[in-house]
Structure formats: structure tokens, C-alpha cells
């Protein structure tokens, strides 16, 4: 419980920075920090494998991907980009606060909170692997197909599209 009490505000602070910081690279790095802290949270409550996967996939892949995209799409007028205020913050808050209120009301009124905190055994990787390749084998295959399609699709999207006119003068 004590690690949770320490980690939760840190996660929220990092996420708040990711939402608030004007400089895009700072926001992306704070997102990476927030995701890494969530991984630590998983580790502390006994979901070791999920924490490690979170660390590798989110911090190692997604956050770095985002930082690299920011580097590639650097605007020519970065100073002006930073100066500009975000799109209407008021409208954003008007739309966000009801959602948060509904979530918190559901949290306060919900039944599951009255459950006794059962002490689940720590996540067994052997059991996880067994389930993954027996019960959930079709889903694993589907995710494999999905990731292959995504890899091909991303490569197709991101490749340099030659201009239609530039290939005419050849020969």
C-alpha cells in the first residue's frame, strides 16, 4: 500500500507534465517517465511479467518512436510553435470534467470497492504462458497477423513516395 501511495502521485505528476508542457519533446519524455512509473507500479503489486512487458514495449518502443517522430517532424518555426497556446483549454476542460466526474461517481458508488482485498498469488509466468498457448492460442495468432500487417502498412506509409513527375525524365 505504501509504494502505491508514493507511486500514484508521481505517475499523475508525470502525466500532467506530458499534457501540460509546451515543448513537444519534454511532453514525450514525461510520457516515457509516466509509463515507466506505471511499469514500476505493476512490479510492486505482483504483476512482474506485465511490468516488464510494459517497460519494454511502452518505454522501449512506443515512447522512443514518439520521440523520433518528433525529431523527424520538427517544425521550421519551433519558437512560434512553442509560444502558441494550446487549442481551447476551456472547451477541453468542459468536455473532460464530466467524464472524470462520471468515473469518480461510479467509483464511489460502485459495488466492487466493498470486496475484501483478496491476496492473489503473484503472477505466475508459467501459468501465463500455458494459458497463452492453449486457451488464447487463436488470439496470439491473430495478434501476430495484426503486427505483421502493421509492420508492412507502416513501412508502406512511411516510405518516400516519389513524385509522379520526377520519374519521367529518366531515360
Amino acid at each position: 500500500m505504501i509504494p502505491l501511495l508514493i507511486l500514484s502521485p508521481l505517475i499523475l505528476l508525470a502525466a500532467l507534465g506530458a499534457v501540460w508542457k509546451a515543448r513537444p519533446v519534454h511532453a514525450a519524455l514525461l510520457l516515457a517517465l509516466s509509463l515507466a512509473l506505471v511499469a514500476v507500479l505493476y512490479l510492486t503489486i505482483g504483476a512482474d511479467f506485465i511490468g516488464l512487458v510494459q517497460f519494454m514495449v511502452y518505454v522501449g518502443a512506443v515512447a522512443i518512436l514518439i520521440v523520433f517522430s518528433l525529431l523527424i517532424t520538427r517544425p521550421s518555426d519551433e519558437a512560434e510553435e512553442i509560444q502558441r497556446r494550446p487549442r481551447s483549454m476551456v472547451t477541453g476542460l468542459i468536455c473532460t470534467l464530466p467524464v472524470l466526474a462520471v468515473l469518480l461517481i461510479a467509483l464511489v458508488k460502485g459495488d466492487p470497492l466493498t470486496l475484501p482485498a483478496a491476496d492473489a498469488p503473484p503472477l505466475s509466468i508459467a501459468r501465463l504462458g500455458e494459458l497463452l498457448f492453449t486457451t488464447h492460442a487463436p488470439a496470439v495468432l491473430a495478434v501476430g497477423v495484426l503486427l505483421t500487417a502493421v509492420m508492412i502498412g507502416a513501412a508502406l506509409f512511411a516510405r518516400d513516395i516519389e513524385k509522379p513527375k520526377s520519374n519521367q525524365p529518366e531515360k
Partner: protein, 103 residues
């Protein structure tokens, strides 16, 4: 406050922050940052209910999170590829400038 309530509150706040980022950011890549925050909030819920809910030998929560992480990675890759393509056309990732289908 029990740990489950704490984790669910954390996840609600994280979701709201992600939603705020999606609604207020101008840079398309930072909107993706908000989406990642919201996905993480959902994952925290799954783990919290698995850990502090009734015992579940089928490990439904962690299993769901594994697939969710895989699909989130795929979504980020495709999203960023699309943003790169748009950037190549318009030299900008500012969504306020992307108001024409002609590119």
C-alpha cells in the same frame, strides 16, 4: 482507502488527463501521447481488478493487458506512420492547419 480504490482513482485521473491532452493539443503526435495515457489507464484497471478482486485462475486481467499492449504498440506505429505521411505532404503536424482533404 483500500488499494483497489486507490488504483481505480489513479486510473480515472490518468484517463481524464489523456482525454484532456487529446482534446487540447495541437500537435498530432502529442494527441497520440494522450491516447497512450488513456490506454494505460485502462490497463491499470485490468491489473487492479485482477490483483485485488476475487481470485481468478484464468488470469483474465493480465491476459487482456498483454493483448492490449500489443495492440497499443501496433496503433502507435500506424498512427505515427500516418502522421509522418501527412507531414511530408503539408510540412506540418499542427491539426489546425490540416483542414483540407486535398492535402
Amino acid at each position: 482507502m483500500n488499494p483497489l480504490a486507490l488504483l481505480l482513482t489513479l486510473s480515472s485521473l490518468l484517463f481524464a488527463l489523456g482525454l484532456l491532452a487529446v482534446l487540447t493539443r495541437r500537435n498530432a503526435i502529442l494527441i497520440l501521447v494522450g491516447i497512450e495515457l488513456m490506454l494505460n489507464a485502462a490497463n491499470i484497471n485490468f491489473i487492479a481488478f485482477w490483483r485485488y478482486g476475487p481470485p481468478d485462475p484464468e488470469l483474465t486481467g493480465p491476459m487482456f493487458v498483454l493483448f492490449s499492449i500489443a495492440i497499443a504498440a501496433a496503433e502507435a506505429a500506424v498512427g505515427l506512420a500516418i502522421i509522418l505521411m501527412v507531414f511530408r505532404h503539408t510540412r506540418s503536424t499542427d491539426l489546425n492547419k490540416l483542414d483540407s482533404l486535398h492535402g
